[in-house]
């Protein structure tokens, strides 16, 4: 018990890093994903091609490679990121691509008649999206977004490769130093707690959208 209280502060500070990366990636990627999905279904062909290529690139290569590329690769051509910024940059780019695909599916599930119905009521395109289409899309995509959200908590551990002190790294360091399994077990428990909280929040969001069908 004494040992646990000794290593807990470093684990918690690692967990704080994990939470920061998780939070900012989510906050940025979801709106960016909505925008990108609108682009993916846009009538402007070049915009569609660029975004398709971007999605293909981000989903087709490992996130680990993208992290290494941004932090260790880009400085070679003069683009230098701090560790934390590099991590956020890579995560946001990667997750935006996944969210864009999820939202694209959601937008395509909306009946064309909903747009026409809004149009004869003379709502603008923006009003139609905000008040009618996006709420329906969100209801459709919440389960998939939830999946990615849980993934993101765990994926954030990849940042250890660029030397950021996240939860996994904190546990790893303690285990290597003290030759005990306990830190890694604690790391597992903390991840489980974080995913449990995320699962709970997601269930609440799903319930909120169950008021209508």
């Amino acid at each position: 018990m004494h040992y646990v209280s000794e290593i807990l502060p470093s684990l918690l500070s690692g967990a704080w890093m994990t939470i920061k990366i998780f939070f900012w990636t989510l906050i940025a990627s979801i709106p960016l994903g909505i925008l990108a999905s609108l682009g993916l279904t846009s009538r402007i062909a070049p915009l569609r091609w660029i975004l398709k290529f971007y999605v293909w690139l981000m989903r087709g290569t490992p996130l680990l490679l993208q992290l290494i590329f941004v932090f260790y690769g880009l400085p070679i051509i003069g683009v230098i990121f701090q560790r934390y910024d590099a991590a956020l940059f890579a995560f946001i780019l990667n997750y935006t691509a996944y969210f864009a695909e999820i939202f694209r599916g959601g937008f395509q599930a909306i009946d064309q008649g909903q747009y026409e119905s809004a149009r004869v009521l003379r709502l603008t395109r923006g009003q139609t999206l905000r008040k009618i289409v996006i709420p329906q899309v969100i209801k459709i995509v919440v389960p998939s977004i939830g999946n990615e959200t849980i993934n993101l908590i765990k994926d954030s551990s990849l940042v250890y490769v660029i030397g950021l002190g996240d939860l996994l790294r904190a546990g790893n360091v303690a285990t290597a130093r003290d030759v005990t399994l306990l830190p890694l077990v604690l790391v597992g428990v903390i991840y489980l707690l974080m995913t449990a909280v995320a699962t709970f929040v997601l269930r609440k969001v799903e319930q909120h959208y169950q008021a209508w069908r």
């Binding site: 009946d111 008649g113 909903q114 026409e116 119905s117 809004a118 149009r119 004869v120 009521l121 003379r122 709502l123 603008t124 009003q127 008040k131 009618i132 709420p135 329906q136 209801k139 008021a211 209508w212 069908r213």
Partner: protein
């Protein structure tokens, strides 16, 4: 009065409407009938601005107007779709008051007051806070009618108002449409149901398929 002159509409080389003329007198019910595929719905979509015509003109009370480009003018055409297309994420009341608030810039109280009158008139009292999935087909249709009326249209259009309903509800729809006529609403009803058209219409316009 709405007048359609020499309307031509093509879809990918296929002519749906050619030199089509029609007059929609004020305060009357005009039924558009014809076999399926003849272009009845296309005609309605042109009138409501959902499709652009290839040529021809629309004249409303002596003034030309383009339904497809009518965003800034007065509200002219209301539409009740065959499948109603209520917004599933909004309650009955919000379905009705959304556009009057956003488009006509009515206050919430103002919009709700007017909505309530129409709700009561169309026998939807008590359904205000329900979501569309909780309504029967006939109720959904009445909500769709109220939603269109709340925008104070000059003309109200229906696409196949009897087709999505149980046969015994036909009479109810007739009563609603005839009731609105008493309130001096100009109405256009697209239907393949000849009997229904004869029961309600002041004039019947036939749309025939164009032989290629």
């Amino acid at each position: 009065m709405l007048e359609l002159k020499n309307i031509k509409k093509q879809f990918g080389g296929r002519t749906i409407l050619d030199n089509f003329n029609m007059q929609v007198p004020d305060d009357q019910i005009t039924a558009i009938v014809g076999p399926s595929g003849a272009g009845k719905t296309t005609l309605l979509r042109c009138i409501s601005g959902l499709e652009k015509t290839n040529s021809g003109s629309f004249i409303l009370d002596g003034k030309t107007f383009d339904p497809a480009n009518n965003r800034d003018n007065d509200n002219v055409i209301g539409v009740v779709f065959q499948d109603f297309q209520l917004f599933p994420n909004l309650t009955v009341l919000d379905n009705i008051t959304l556009a009057p608030q956003l488009v006509l810039k009515q206050s919430k109280t103002e919009a709700e007051k007017r909505a309530q009158e129409l709700i009561d008139q169309l026998n939807l009292t008590g359904k205000e806070s329900l979501y569309p999935y909780q309504l029967s087909g006939g109720q959904k249709q009445r909500v769709a009618i109220v939603r269109a009326l709340a925008m104070n249209p000059k003309i109200l259009c229906y696409d196949e108002p009897t087709s999505a309903l149980d046969p015994d509800l036909r009479q109810t729809v007739e009563n609603i449409i005839l009731g609105l006529k008493k309130d001096n609403m100009t109405q256009i009803v697209v239907t393949h149901d000849m009997q229904f058209a004869e029961n309600i219409a002041d004039q019947i316009v036939r749309v025939e398929p164009i032989k290629a």
